[in-house]
C-alpha cells in the first residue's frame, strides 16, 4: 500500500470523525440526516480507495449498493420528517 493511499485513508477517517461530531451534536434531526448522508458518501469513497489498495475490483459493487442504500435512507428520513412522525431531538 503506497503512502499516498494510506494518507488518503487517514484523511477520510478524519472526515468520518468530523461528521460524527455533527451527528452527535445535532441540534435537530435534519442536521443528523445530513451528517449521515455525508457518512455514506465518505464510505463510498473509502470503499473505492480500498478497492485500489487491495486490487479487488468487485468491491465496486459494494460501493454501488452503499450509494443506493444512502439515497433510499435519505428519502425515507425526509418523508418521515414531512409526515411529522414522533421526534426526539
Amino acid at each position: 500500500m503506497s503512502p499516498i493511499i494510506l494518507l488518503s485513508l487517514a484523511l477520510m477517517s478524519l472526515a468520518l470523525c468530523l461528521a460524527f461530531v455533527r451527528l452527535f451534536r445535532g441540534p435537530s434531526l435534519p442536521d443528523r440526516v445530513v451528517a449521515l448522508e455525508l457518512f455514506s458518501s465518505i464510505l463510498v469513497g473509502m470503499i473505492g480507495v480500498v478497492a485500489i489498495a487491495t486490487d479487488v475490483a468487485s468491491l465496486l459493487d459494494v460501493a454501488i449498493v452503499m450509494a443506493l442504500m444512502a439515497f433510499m435512507a435519505a428519502i425515507g428520513f425526509a418523508r418521515f420528517l414531512e409526515r411529522g412522525g414522533p421526534r426526539d431531538d
Partner: protein, 134 residues
C-alpha cells in the same frame, strides 16, 4: 504515470471529503451545512471513482466506476432537495445572519400553501375561504 495521476486523484478526492466534513461541523445552519456536504462530497467521490477507473483499466470496472459517478450525481441533488424541503417544513431555524428568506412571506406553514403574490382577487378570496373552512 497512471499510478501517479491516480494517486493524485485519490488524494484530492480525500481532501474534498475532509473539506465537506469540516463544513458540516463549522457552518451555522442546516442549509449551509447541506451546501457544504452535497457538492464537496459528490466531487470527492467522483474523483476517487475516476482514480479507480484509471487503476484497473478494464472495461467492466470502468463502466461500473462511471455508473457510480452517474448515480451519485443523479441522487445527491434529489436527496439534498428532499432533506432541505423537510427541514424547512419542520421549521429548522436559519442562521441569524440570514439576510433574505424569500419563502417566508409567501408560504403558510400550517396549510403548506404557497402564494405567488400575483393572484387575481377572486383566486385570493377562494384561497381564503378554503383556509377558513379547513
Amino acid at each position: 504515470m497512471t499510478d501517479i495521476v491516480g494517486e493524485g486523484l485519490v488524494l484530492v478526492g480525500a481532501l474534498f471529503m475532509l473539506l465537506a466534513a469540516l463544513g458540516v461541523v463549522r457552518l451555522p445552519d442546516l442549509l449551509t451545512r447541506m451546501h457544504a456536504t452535497t457538492k464537496a462530497a459528490t466531487l470527492g467521490v467522483s474523483l476517487v471513482m475516476l482514480a479507480v477507473a484509471l487503476h484497473f483499466a478494464q472495461v467492466a470496472v470502468v463502466a461500473r466506476a462511471f455508473a457510480v459517478i452517474l448515480f451519485i450525481m443523479m441522487t445527491a441533488p434529489v436527496a439534498a432537495h428532499v432533506i432541505g424541503r423537510a427541514g424547512y417544513f419542520v421549521g429548522t431555524r436559519l442562521w441569524e445572519g440570514t439576510l433574505k428568506d424569500e419563502l417566508r412571506p409567501h408560504y403558510d406553514p400550517l396549510t403548506h400553501e404557497l402564494r405567488s403574490g400575483l393572484e387575481t382577487t377572486e383566486e385570493e378570496r377562494r384561497g381564503r375561504d378554503e383556509t377558513d373552512a379547513s
